[in-house]
């Protein structure tokens, strides 16, 4: 756990630097642009049943870009939203940006303080920095366990896929879908849907807890 605390500290410092340089924008959370950031939200939210009200934990919420997306794309949806991020600087930006918006709260931490219907995490697993791959996979597993423990109905998370030639990209974590699908099925006992083919070299896992065994 002490080792993971140091991983969290490195991540916090990395994103604090990003937001101070780029501000509350997709670049501030390492995405190319608004459009690609939002295309990832589209995939993650395929998990949610928008026909009824639900609660949602946004793990690694950054400056709260998902809040704006929900208002734009799902204006009728009743979503009780909680954004969680390791970085106090991110949370501070998120609170300022969404001040006065009802049903939107933000907390600093590596874990959600509540159980919600769903949890999503966008881009949280990608920036490995210079951590050893084994340690980073421990961080990924720990994050998935926490999302599982704090979700009633399911959680969704995206990963960068491996390149065709199998080469690595310095500082980034690329995974085979089978690695984490298997973890969610066998270790967490969940049903998993892999979403891919949405124009990016990545995949999204929709992990459902409320499936029929």
């Amino acid at each position: 756990m002490d080792t993971l605390r140091s991983v969290h500290a490195r991540i916090e410092a990395y994103y604090a630097d990003k937001i101070s340089r780029h501000g509350a924008s997709p670049r501030g959370v390492d995405w190319t642009c608004t459009a690609t950031q939002q295309l990832r939200f589209v995939q993650l939210l395929k998990l949610c049943d928008f026909s009824q009200p639900f609660s949602l934990n946004d793990v690694g919420c950054g400056y709260g870009a998902l809040v704006g997306f929900l208002a734009w794309r799902h204006p009728e949806a009743e979503v009780d939203y909680l954004g969680v991020d390791l970085s106090p600087a991110m949370i501070s930006r998120a609170r300022r940006r969404h001040r006065g918006t009802p049903g939107r709260r933000f907390v600093v931490g590596n874990d959600s303080p509540r159980v919600a219907d769903y949890a999503v995490a966008s881009g949280v697993m990608n920036v490995m920095l210079d951590h050893p791959r084994d340690l980073w996979e421990e961080f990924v597993a720990d994050t998935l366990r926490r999302m599982h423990a704090s979700s009633r109905r399911g959680f969704a998370v995206n990963f960068m896929a491996e390149r065709r030639d199998g080469t690595a990209t310095e500082g980034l974590y690329r995974a085979d879908p089978a690695r984490w699908t298997s973890f969610c099925q066998q270790t967490l006992g969940c049903a998993v849907e892999v979403v891919g083919g949405y124009g990016m070299r990545e995949f999204t896992l929709l992990v459902r807890l409320d499936h029929e065994p």
């Binding site: 997709p26 190319t32 642009c33 608004t34 459009a35 939002q38 295309l39 124009g199």
Partner: protein, 145 residues
């Protein structure tokens, strides 16, 4: 872009456009974004499309000029389609290609207004190492001293 945008900002922005629309994964990503969000559409200006894609001059001082060039100046230019101005021609070219069953990579460049004063959209090989056929968009410029 002639006297409207500095040479350095021009190189900067052209580089960003061509990187995002190059052959392979980039053009596939653009096609997916178009399918989901209608990034290029006659419903909004080209500058809005560039904003969504974060294609802008790195130098903040150049951004208002880039905005003016994109949403105003281009509308004053004729194009290779009769009755369609330069701005709308670009939007049409991006939209039609990205919504086609097999989108081609796209290459953006400039030519001298003295050679042809219209915005031109053609198919061909871009001035790159890639042998892939591209949609080539060329906008006329008038150099200033």
């Amino acid at each position: 872009m002639g006297g409207l945008v500095s040479d350095s900002a021009t190189r900067d922005v052209i580089g960003k456009i061509n990187e995002r629309f190059e052959a392979g994964e980039s053009i596939a990503e653009m096609a997916a974004l178009q399918r989901e969000f209608k990034i290029f559409s006659s419903e909004h200006g080209l500058h809005r499309s560039w904003q969504l894609l974060n294609i802008k001059a790195s130098d903040p001082a150049e951004r208002p000029r880039w905005h003016h060039w994109t949403d105003r100046y281009l509308r004053t230019l004729p194009s290779d389609l009769e009755g369609v101005n330069g701005h709308d021609r670009l939007v049409k070219a991006f939209q039609e290609n990205l919504e086609s069953p097999n989108p081609l990579p796209m290459f953006y460049k400039h030519h001298l207004d003295s050679d042809d004063h219209r915005v031109l959209v053609t198919r061909g090989h871009a001035a790159l190492h890639s042998t892939a056929e591209h949609i080539v968009i060329s906008v006329p410029i008038i150099p200033v001293r």
